[in-house]
Structures are given as structure tokens and as C-alpha cells.
Symmetry: C2
Subunit: 134 residues, 2 copies
DNA sequence: ATAAACCCTGAAGTTAACTCCAAGTCAAGA
DNA sequence: TCTTGACTTGGAGTTAACTTCAGGGTTTAT
């Protein structure tokens, strides 16, 4: 499979796929005798695996490190486990913070049904009181 | 309150506070006669409000736009509501994607108790089969 | 009244993650 | 065979969100 087809299948741009290979986020795909990348199923699986973590906001460097360790085999099991535990903590914290924002947004949307949201309204009022004009 | 005290209270660096004011993420704090910023409670409230959204990964430009609209008063109610609805969709999607990654991580952590995670193990095996050495 | 610590601005530098470009090689159809 | 389109690389450019710097003014404590 050419890099273009791989790009269509994964939804990642051609340039970006090459970039990911370059930084080691995806293992280097095999090449034809003339040097053209030939994406196989194994490499595509890596792309999908990597994308799932990327979508959750994990830094590429963290994912890259995990891929590097995984390719090194069983001896890196412990280190991978620690990396996953740290990543899990990050994601749980992120989830909480998103929930906090959702709570605020839902509250505001509720109150917008009646009038300007009271919390912001109060802040705007306090702000305006300090301003000479407007 | 000096900018340094505001920085300590909010956990945002002095430079970053000035940066946020500059890009309009926070309304400009009042100044003393000699031009030194004098952070008041109203401005601090804005900082806290903005930080909550920032922590959830919302782009600063989106938050900046919301602040701009809020300062313009009731006439922008509708536009703010639409902005909040869009932001809510983003956050819900992000939450789902984080959950997907958490599921994968939890599954891997479970299986790591016994041996190398089967999904990755399979991918590594497929990968190694293509490689001449190692 | 002077040194230390703090404040200001505008601009340049940094990092992550792309995104595009130039110049050249390779492959498939008329 | 010649064009057209896809592939290659290295490197430059972009955007978001900081971060640091240069050069100067202000406040405070001794």
C-alpha cells in the first residue's frame, strides 16, 4: 500500500504520516527495491494504535516512547507499565477538568434561558464599576 | 494587588499574566498613576474563570472570544450561547476519546499482570516478522 | 540617596505538532 | 518516449502558547 492509500485509510495526511515515521511515532514501513514506502497491515495497526492515544491528547513524545519500548520486547514490560500508569493518571485528571468545565457550561446554558448568566453577569458588573466610560 | 501577588494567588506566572492581558484573555487590570497594574478582585475572578476553561483544553482564542462577548453585555447573549454549545460538544467528544484511551490502558495494565499485552504483542510479532534482523 | 527588588514594554526565542516547499526520482498511460 | 502524477528527502515556514530578553522606570528599605 502506498503512503497515499495509507493516508486515506487512516485520515492522517501524507506529510504527517512521513513526519510520524521520522520522529519514531510509527515504526518505519518496509520499502520497495526503489525506496518507496510500502505500508503493510502491521504498520497500519501501529498507526491506529497511536492515533487512539493521540486523540485523547497524550503528547506524541509519550506515545513515541511507548512504541519504542514495545518494539524492544518483553524486557521493557515494567517500564511500559509505569508509563501507562502515569498516562492513566494524566487522563483521569484531564477527565475531571473537562467535567468541571462542562458543569459550568451547563449551568450557564440553563440560566441563559432566563437572563445573562448570574456568575458572569456579576463579574461583568464588578468590572464595569471600575471602568470610567461604558 | 501587584502582578506578582496575583501570580502567586492564581498559579499563573507573572509573564504569563501579562501575556493573557495582552491577548485579551483577561480584561486589562486597573493601573496606578505611575502605570503599574493593580489587580483587583474582579480581574482575579476573570482569571479563575478563564483558567477553568483553559485546564479543560479549550483553545485560548475561544475563551478570549467569550470574554470579549461577555464584556459587551446582554446584546451578545445569543452568540455566547452558541459558543458555549459548540464548546460543550468539543468537551463531550474529548471526554469520549479519553475514555477510549483509558479503556485500552486499563486492559493493558490488566494483562501486563500476566504477560506482554496481547494486542501489542501481536503487533510487535507481525512487525518483527517483516524485519530481517532482530 | 542609593541599592535591591519590583514594575513596564516591545520584541525575539522556544516547543510541539504540524505543513509546505524545492529539487529530484520513479511509475503508468497515450 | 514523453507526460503526468506520485514518490523521495532535507529543510523552511506556521500556529498556539508560552518564555526570555533588553532596556528602562518605580518603590522600598537601609
Amino acid at each position: 500500500m502506498t503512503i497515499k492509500e495509507a493516508a486515506e485509510k487512516t485520515g492522517v495526511s501524507v506529510d504527517n504520516l512521513r513526519f510520524y515515521v521520522k520522529i519514531g511515532l510509527i515504526p518505519a514501513a518496509p520499502r520497495t527495491s526503489s525506496g518507496i514506502r510500502n505500508f503493510d497491515e502491521a504498520t497500519l495497526s501501529w498507526v491506529e494504535f497511536v492515533l487512539r492515544f493521540k486523540r485523547s491528547g497524550m503528547p506524541l513524545e509519550t506515545i513515541r516512547r511507548y512504541v519504542e519500548l514495545a518494539l524492544q520486547g518483553d524486557s521493557t514490560k515494567q517500564e511500559r507499565k509505569e508509563l501507562l500508569l502515569a498516562a492513566k493518571e494524566d487522563l483521569l485528571k484531564k477527565q475531571e477538568q473537562i467535567q468541571e468545565s462542562l458543569d459550568v457550561i451547563n449551568y450557564k446554558l440553563d440560566t441563559y434561558e432566563q437572563k445573562c448568566g448570574p456568575i458572569t453577569a456579576e463579574m461583568v458588573a464588578a468590572w464595569k464599576a471600575k471602568q470610567p466610560s461604558e
